[in-house]
Amino acid sequence: MGLLDKEFTDGNIVIAKADDILNWARLSSLWQLSFGLACCAIEMMATSASHYDFDRFGVMPRPTPRQADVIIISGTVTLKMATRIKRLYEQMPDPKYIISMGSCSNCGGPYWEHGYHVLKGVDRVIPVDVYVPGCPPRPEALLEGLLKLQEKIRNESLVKKTA
């Protein structure tokens, strides 16, 4: 059944089949870089603790950027830290994704007006895939952000680079 209902316009079947498997593999084993900045990091730890368990989705914290696929920017990005985050992003091997967690890393958050040392949003330094609003976002919001990211990876394709 699955074969017939896939219309033939979007690339032939073989590519589509390979895409699905590769995308499924990438989205179901997102290894997270264990890196937290501020209050959102505590909510991220609560998410990977027993109550909201990140591990159910295959997210495993890895200490080194070389083995990480997704980096969750959880907290306020200051100017002094921004150059470090850019270098961390560059250290990660390629199919990598960014979740910007919390309004501080989305757009500077409560520090947008008088924060002379706060970077107004991490997307000025690195390309962000999913923004999770909230200050700090609840663990359920972070899980929903992760599902959004998995959604995005599911639709990626080898043929045409979406992002």
Partner: protein
Amino acid sequence: MALKTEELVLNMGPQHPSTHGVLRLELELEGEVVTNVKPHLGYLHRCFEKHCEAMTYPQVIPYTDRMDYLASMYNNFGYVVGVEKLLGIQVPERVEYIRVIMGELQRIASHLVALGTYGLDIGAFTPFLYCFIDREKILNLFEITCGARLLYNYMWVGGLSHDIHPDFVRLTKEFIPYFRPHIKELNDLLTYNKIFIERTVNIGVLPIDTAINYGASGPVLRGSGMKWDLRKNDPYSIYDRFDFDIPTGKNGDCWDRYYVRVLEMEQSLRIIEQAIDQIPDGDVQSAIPKRIKPPKGTVYSRVENPKGELGYFIISDGSTSPFRVKVRAPSFVNLSVIGEMCKGHLVADVVAILGSIDIVLGEVDR
């Protein structure tokens, strides 16, 4: 011919699994032995004091939450006590009792994170998750009263933002017998574990006079054996009505600082037990002034934050927004002692010592 050895500078950089956030420690090493530690701060400097000058008195409270985001109830508590001293207003009894209960619950939650991440630093993964399970129970209590899990904006100048939930008292009474055996379980799992003791006893010993000279406070000072707790020595709010004792360590090493926190959790349970039955009724927002314009003057108020002595120095010039607020953050001062404690230890001990002084970077960098 002597072996030519060189100093190795190792960067435990802003992104490091064990630095509790964005702190960079520059270690100068001889082989594995640390000769000098130079902390580099400021990676989370969020300009709190600049915001205080631009905001009115009530608007500053959400920013105090975000300083020590593990004990934000107590940050509000310190700031609010200071402004009330400046205004000279007296808060109703009900508010005082609720503030003490919330403060002590927050102390238990903050110590749970401290003990859990300390187990992580020494290499035991499981206690961290057990501590977070108990902490979720406390966060539920906070959530039903003020709607937030981590940063509450709950204690206002002169009162509280919400009255406590009708079945808050019942839930708290259920929490106490639920949590007490868990402290014993944590002790069996980690405190009396032979390897844990091997890793923490006689590591990072801090004598009392260096502790006072460096201004260390809270569990770090009490771990060195000094019986100093602001709730007893410089009482504020209604802490003098409850009887609880102050646990102190013997020889000021990492194990003592860890164990003082475990005992303090029991003491906080005792306070909550006494306070939960005597909550008088009344309106929690009766004493909140319409426009907060304190007279021209200065005040330095200090409270016993779970991390140590949190002080607010508020200068008001008579307008509705503070002229200058300087915060004496306990983690900032406790961290300055790390250079002294780490000399002559191994790299693994630096991680243990950093975990034992339990710093929160939001407070260190403000």
